[in-house]
C-alpha cells in the first residue's frame, strides 16, 4: 500500500467550512499543531497552523497562517475531541482560541515560561484577549 497523504494550503477564513466538510465526509481528527516561520511569502512573524484529518489510510493536512495576536475560532463544535490540541496550542504559542468546549484558561500545562514556543508575544497577552 502506498501512503496517501497530502498537505493543502487554505485561507484562514475557510477553515471552519473545510473542517465541517471533513467531519461530514467521515474523517477523524488526527492532530492539530502550530509552527513558527511559515513557508512561502507569508510574513515571518505569522504563525502557521496544521489541522490533520484522516479517513482509512488517507491523511489530509490543512495548513493556514494567522497574523500575530489574531484570535481563531475553536473547532470543538465540530470535533469535540479537539479541545486538548487547542488548549495546547493556546498554552505553547499564546494563540487565543475562542469557544473551546473545555477551556483550561491557560492552565493546561503549568509552565515556568508563558508561551515558550512563541517568546515574541508578551506574557499574558493571550489571556487578556479572552
Amino acid at each position: 500500500m502506498t501512503e496517501n497523504k497530502m498537505m493543502i494550503d487554505i485561507g484562514s477564513d475557510e477553515v471552519l467550512s473545510r473542517v465541517q466538510s471533513y467531519q461530514q465526509g467521515g474523517y477523524r481528527l488526527v492532530q492539530m499543531c502550530c509552527v513558527r516561520e511559515p513557508a512561502g511569502n507569508v510574513p515571518a512573524d505569522h504563525l502557521e497552523l496544521h489541522y490533520t484529518f484522516g479517513r482509512d489510510y488517507e491523511m489530509v493536512d490543512l495548513k493556514f497562517s494567522i497574523p500575530p495576536g489574531a484570535a481563531i475560532e475553536s473547532i470543538t463544535q465540530i470535533y469535540p475531541c479537539a479541545f486538548l490540541y487547542e488548549n495546547e496550542i493556546h498554552d505553547l504559542y499564546g494563540v487565543s482560541i475562542q469557544g473551546i468546549n473545555i477551556d483550561f484558561q491557560g492552565n493546561f500545562y503549568k509552565m515556568a515560561a508563558a508561551h515558550p514556543f512563541n517568546p515574541d508575544i508578551e506574557p499574558g497577552q493571550a489571556q487578556k484577549e479572552k
Binding site: M1, V30, E37, Y57, C81, L84, Y109
Partner: protein
C-alpha cells in the same frame, strides 16, 4: 418527588500520586453516589518541553532526545524522528537497516504489551499475574540488551540507518528464544483471557462504542478493540510492505476486548519478527548523511499504544524549526473520558489502565 430525584454531586480528585498509577496524572471525577458522571483530566505533571530542544541540539543529535520522549516506546520515537528527516532529505535507507528497525520495533511492542499486561493485572488485583508477566518480559529485554546494548533506551537508530548490526547467529538465537517464549507467554495470556475472576473484572466494563471510538479520534488497541480495523503498519512503512499479517480486532469495546487485542498482538509480533528474520537481506546497515534538511514532513507509525504522528519542519540549517510528536495516549484521552462516564468509581483504575496510558509521551 422532585427532591428525591435531585442527586448530589461530589467531586473526587484522583492523582497525581496514586497507587495504581505508575505515572502522575490527575482527574477530577464528578460522582453521583458511586457512579462517575463526568471527568475532567488535568495533565502537565511531566511536561518538560523537549520539543523546543531542536533549537539547541543539532538534528543528528536530537535522535537521543526523541528516544527519550518515552522510555517504553523509545525505539519507535527515535525511528519515527529519523524517518521523518530521511523523508525530507530523500535518503533511502538500506534494506537490511529497514528490517533491523522492524525487528527492534516489534520487540519493543512485545515488551510494552507484556509490561502493560502486568500493570493491568496489578490494577485489577492479581499480583501474581503481574509478577509472571514481568518475568516473561525480562526475556525480551535480554534479547534487546544483547543486540543493542540498552534495556529500555536502545540508541540503535540513526539518520540514514542503524548503528548496530545483528549477526546471523544472534538472529538464530532470537528465533529459539522466541519459540521458547511462546509456551510461557501463552500460559500467562490464557489466564488473562480465560480466568473467570479476571473476566468478572473486565467484561462489560468501560464500554466504548465503535462510533465513539472513531469520532473521538482513538487510536491503536483502543480503536481496534471497538471494532475499527486500522493499523498504520498496513501502510507498509519500512519493511512492513513485505510482511504478511492481519489486523487484530475485537468488537465488544470493553476492558476485556482491549486486553484481548494486546494479547493477540504479542503473538502477532512474534510471528512478524520470525518472518522478518527469515527474509532479512544482507548488505550495509547505513548510508552516509551529508548536508542539512530543508522542508517539512509529516509521518505516522504504529506505536504499541497506537498511531503516532511526527511533524518535522527544517530550514536548511543544523537546527530544525519545529519537531512535533502527537503521541497515541494524547489522542486516546477523549475516548477514555467517554469510557469512564457512567462507570463505578471502583472501576476507574481498571479503565484508565486499559487505555495503556503513557503520560510521559503525552506531555513530552
Amino acid at each position: 418527588m422532585e427532591k428525591a430525584e435531585e442527586k448530589r454531586h461530589t467531586i473526587v480528585p484522583f492523582g497525581p500520586q496514586h497507587p495504581v498509577l505508575p505515572e502522575p496524572l490527575h482527574f477530577d471525577f464528578v460522582l453521583e453516589d458511586e457512579k462517575v458522571v463526568d471527568v475532567i483530566p488535568s495533565i502537565g505533571y511531566i511536561h518538560r518541553g523537549l520539543e523546543i530542544l531542536v533549537q539547541k541540539r543539532e538534528f543528528t543529535e536530537y535522535v537521543y532526545v526523541a528516544e527519550r520522549i518515552c522510555g517504553i516506546c523509545s525505539f519507535i520515537h527515535g525511528m519515527g524522528y529519523c524517518e521523518a528527516i530521511e523523508e525530507i532529505m530523500k535518503i533511502s535507507v538500506p534494506e537490511r537497516a529497514k528490517y533491523l528497525r522492524l525487528i527492534w520495533s516489534e520487540l519493543s511492542r512485545v515488551h510494552s504489551h507484556l509490561l502493560w499486561l502486568g500493570l493491568a493485572a496489578d490494577a485489577f488485583g492479581f499480583e501474581n499475574l503481574f509478577m509472571q508477566a514481568w518475568r516473561a518480559r525480562e526475556l525480551v529485554l535480554d534479547i534487546i540488551e544483547e543486540t543493542t546494548g540498552g534495556r529500555v533506551i536502545f540508541g540503535a537508530c540513526k539518520i540514514g540507518g542503524v548503528r548496530k548490526d545483528i549477526t546471523d547467529e544472534s538472529l538464530k538465537t532470537m528465533v529459539t528464544v522466541i519459540d521458547g517464549m511462546y509456551k510461557d507467554v501463552r500460559t500467562i495470556c490464557d489466564v488473562f483471557l480465560n480466568d473467570s475472576s479476571v473476566k468478572e473484572r473486565l467484561c462489560g466494563i468501560g464500554i466504548l462504542s465503535r462510533e465513539d471510538a472513531y469520532s473521538l479520534g482513538a487510536v491503536g488497541p483502543m480503536l481496534r478493540a471497538s471494532g475499527v480495523s486500522y493499523d498504520t503498519r498496513k501502510l507498509g512503512y519500512g519493511a512492513f510492505g513485505d510482511i504478511d499479517f492481519d489486523i487484530v480486532t475485537e468488537t465488544a469495546g470493553d476492558c476485556y476486548a482491549r486486553c484481548a487485542v494486546r494479547v493477540h498482538e504479542i503473538f502477532q509480533s512474534f510471528h512478524i519478527i520470525k518472518q522478518a528474520i527469515s527474509k532479512i537481506p544482507g548488505g550495509p546497515i547505513s548510508v552516509k548523511v551529508t548536508g542539512a534538511p530543508n522542508g517539512e514532513a509529516m509521518v505516522r507509525y504504529e506505536q504499541p499504544r497506537g498511531e503516532v504522528i511526527y511533524y518535522v519542519k527544517a530550514n536548511g540549517t543544523k537546527f530544525l524549526t519545529r519537531f512535533r510528536a502527537r503521541t497515541p495516549t494524547f489522542a486516546n484521552i477523549p475516548a477514555m473520558i467517554q469510557a469512564l462516564k457512567g462507570c463505578d468509581f471502583a472501576d476507574v483504575a481498571n479503565i484508565v489502565l486499559t487505555i495503556d496510558p503513557c503520560i510521559s509521551c503525552t506531555e513530552r
